[in-house]
Amino acid sequence: MHDALELTSHRDASGVQVVRLSGRLDSRSTPRFVRECPPPAAGEIVVVNLENVTFVSSSGVGALLAHSEVAREQGGEFRLASPPSVVMKTLKLLNLDEHLNLYPNEAEAVKRAA
């Protein structure tokens, strides 16, 4: 039985890992997201495109937050691109936006990496 999260990942020309999520980042799917998209190691950059996320639970938000902090500690960069309103509202509700690297869209997030 599959959870409701689709996850595709590729490395672009500049070496940035781009992860595109769509569907629900919830209690069920979050463990898989954490497994398949580990926090970037030193010098690495991961951009997570949230554009097609339809629902985010506290565990999903927690994973994004934990990845950001772990990346920061390891010297990598964990970026979130084009968060939809449903994600943004939850982040604001918990006052977490200030602890995350947010970008309006994927191109911006990747470009800044170069």
Binding site: M1, D3, A4, R24, D26, S27, R28, F55, V56, S57, S58, S59, V61, G62, A63, L64, L65, A66, S68, E69, V70, E73, P83, S85, V86, M88, K89, T90, L91, K92, L93, L94, N95, L96, D97, H99, N101, L102, Y103, P104, E108
Partner: protein
């Protein structure tokens, strides 16, 4: 005593007064002596003059007697008279009369032959008469046979005698004046010498009176003035010491007052903190400027309220310092520790090293969850917690916890226990320090006791908590006859507003069986099996709630998030995702309130959730401190914070006859407000 008083001046100066007076007295004495001595001198001189004059008259009479027998006594007498007069300028004149009164001899020959009356002279010696200007001695001249032959008269003027007396008097006056002058001078010098220290003493006292307490006369003087000066120095020493002591006391008093101000700033300002239907009122009456009691009501980030009351053994500054530290520890740890007992253990760990040997602290710490009405507390050796229920019943909740810092931490950890009370409408919880219970009655020292306090609680109606505190203070005052308390009196009262007498009990405050009865009227519940996958059914189910479709997508998603988080907890913690347990959800709409025609669509109601998982108290899950990086790295515990923000109220009733029942209050306006507070996505 005024420093601005003009220097005083003596109207009469002793240094002049005494010499003048003594000169006056001396002059008077000398005057009296002079008068007496002049009288004596006069008497002596007059007596001498008279006897000499009498002798002259007798000698003249004797010389005249033989001459009178001659035929021409004038011839003989005239030379005798001349001889007598010669060299005797003290005699004015002398003459001899015969028995007929004819002048027969006179230095002035022209007077011979003149007549003058004979003095009536008896036998015997010469008679001396006095008149204003002369002494006159008359001696009868007799023949050997006793026959009267005539008279011999010798006249002496008084003037020389008076001159002599006057000269003597002048000398006497001169000597006296000199004497008075010398003595007055000596007296003046002596007085000046004696009174000079007096000026020093005067000036010194003026300076001391003017406030210069460092003045010392240091007069080395053997007289009584020296003793006086030493006494004044001694007095100045003591005044100066007393003044220093006083200044020191004032400084200390000012510092204590400042410490007291800081200490009272540890309490919630205004005394009462309100949180929905709950009012927390604190009261403190310190026995001194600073106290060893502490209370506070502090808001936790998740909306719950931390309430603390403590009594530090020992009063004064030492106790006050411990309360500062205690307040700081409680404020720092309130967000980190999961339960009141854990917080107290942690506070004990840090407080223990600073407590003096034998010192200890009794603390009561409670957390009020305004959503559920649950108050969970732990007590470290504090007085029992007293609750007056809305129906007047009094409950006393003892605690086994030992005071912080007193016994080994292991013993504290073993005895500390979290106790949860539920405050229903109209209930009142009281915590206080022994300043109230041990208030002593004058006379027999009987203590007010917890019974005395609960008696006040029992008598009080369902008034405001402030009114109860005022009443408690009044009773304590009456008990101690208004004497100054010798221990701090601190009380904290938590009261839930009573249900309006006329209104029926709100749905959320009713028994869980009523919730379920009402819910079941609405139809079949949504049944979810204990897996995460099942939770994906919540979204469509919520979307189907009547009226929900008219609401913005954000609001629907917000509600889904809150319910998702709550159910996720049940599945994960209650059922451990066993795939067999079920949770049932009903939607119970609230009675529709009349809405304005153009008002935005609104959905209000309750979600009733029933399940049989192992009970867990949502309130026991601490909110993570997201300012702490380690907490962010764990990324856990955010769900309950989401629920608290998104829903106005939550009631959890574990282990009822129907299983665990939860009531989640839903108000779309509340959701809208909470979500609107988050502005649109802002990107880096």
């Amino acid at each position: 005593m005024s420093a601005t008083a003009s220097p005083r001046r003596a109207r009469m100066r002793l240094g002049l007064l005494v010499p003048a007076a003594s000169a006056l007295v001396l002059a008077a004495a000398m005057l009296a002596g002079a008068v007496v001595s002049e009288r004596q001198a006069r008497h002596l001189l007059v007596t001498q003059s008279r006897s000499r004059l009498a002798l002259e008259a007798e000698l003249l009479a004797r010389a005249s007697a033989s001459a009178m027998l001659d035929g021409f006594p004038e011839l003989t007498l005239q030379p005798i008279l001349r001889d007598l007069m010669r060299g005797r300028n003290d005699l004015a004149s002398a003459r001899v009369l015969d028995r007929d009164g004819r002048v027969i001899a006179d230095p002035d020959s022209r007077r011979i032959g003149h007549h003058e009356p004979l003095s009536v002279v008896t036998d015997g010696g010469a008679v001396v008469r006095e008149d204003a200007s002369n002494f006159v001695a008359v001696m009868p001249i007799r023949h050997a046979n006793g026959q009267l032959l005539g008279e011999a008269i010798v006249v002496m003027p008084r003037a020389p005698l008076e001159h002599a007396l006057a000269a003597t008097r002048m000398r006497l006056w001169g000597v006296a004046a000199l004497f008075v002058l010398v003595s007055a001078t000596v007296m003046f010098a002596l007085m000046s010498r004696l009174l000079r220290p007096l000026a020093v003493v005067h000036e010194g006292i003026e300076r001391i009176a003017g406030g210069d307490l460092e003045t010392r006369l240091a007069l080395r003087d053997g007289t009584e003035l020296g003793v006086l000066a030493d006494t004044i120095d001694d007095m100045a020493n003591r005044l100066s010491a007393a003044q220093k002591h006083q200044l020191e006391r004032e400084r200390l008093a000012a510092e204590l007052e400042a410490a007291g101000r800081i200490q009272s700033s540890l309490h919630p300002p205004g005394g009462t903190v309100r949180r929905g239907p709950y009012a927390v009122t604190g009261y403190q009456r310190p026995a001194a400027e600073v106290g060893g009691d502490y209370f506070d009501a502090i808001e936790l980030p998740d909306g719950r309220l931390g309430i603390v009351i403590a009594d530090v053994s020992g009063k004064g500054l030492a106790g006050c310092l411990v309360t500062f530290m205690l307040a700081a520890l409680v404020r720092v740890m309130r967000e980190r520790e999961a339960s009141p007992s854990a917080l107290l253990l942690e506070v004990d760990r840090y407080l223990r090293p600073v407590l003096e040997r034998g010192a200890f602290v009794t603390v009561w710490y409670g957390v009020l969850d305004p959503l559920s009405g649950d108050l969970t507390f732990a007590s470290a050796g504090h007085l029992p917690t007293v609750v007056r229920r809305a129906d007047g019943r009094i409950e006393t909740h003892e605690s086994k916890g030992t005071p912080l810092g007193l016994l080994h931490p292991r013993i504290l950890a073993k005895n500390l226990r979290d106790v949860t009370l539920r405050l229903a409408p109209g209930d009142l919880l009281l915590q206080l320090t022994d300043g109230f219970t041990e208030a002593a009655r004058p006379g027999d020292d009987a203590q007010l006791g917890l019974d005395g306090v609960t008696a006040v609680l029992a008598e009080s109606g369902a008034g405001e908590p402030e009114a109860f505190v005022a009443r408690l203070c009044e009773r304590t005052e009456a008990w101690t006859h208004g004497s100054v308390p010798d221990d701090d009196q601190t009380a904290i009262v938590v009261r839930r507003d009573p249900a309006p007498a006329t209104a029926r009990v709100p749905f959320a405050d009713r028994d869980p069986s009523e919730w379920l009865a009402r819910a079941r009227v609405g139809g079949e519940p949504l049944r979810l099996v204990a897996t995460f996958a099942e939770l994906e059914r919540l979204g469509p189910w919520i979307g189907a709630i009547p009226g929900m479709a008219a609401l913005p997508a954000d609001v629907q998603q917000g509600l889904e998030s809150a319910v998702y988080e709550y159910c996720s907890n049940i599945m994960e913690h209650g059922y451990r995702l066993d795939g067999t347990g079920t949770a049932e959800l009903w939607w119970v709409p609230a009675a529709a309130a009349p809405a304005a025609a153009n008002a935005a669509p609104r959905v209000r109601g309750w979600l009733v959730i029933r399940e049989d998982g192992s009970p867990f108290d949502p309130a026991s899950i601490p909110a993570p401190d997201l300012s702490d990086r380690r907490a962010r790295m764990r990324g856990r515990g955010l769900g309950l914070a989401m629920i608290r923000r998104l829903l106005p109220a939550m009631r959890y009733r574990p282990a009822t006859s129907d299983g665990n029942v939860t009531l989640l209050e839903v108000d779309s306006d509340h959701l809208r407000r909470e979500l609107e507070e988050s502005p649109d996505a802002r990107c880096a």
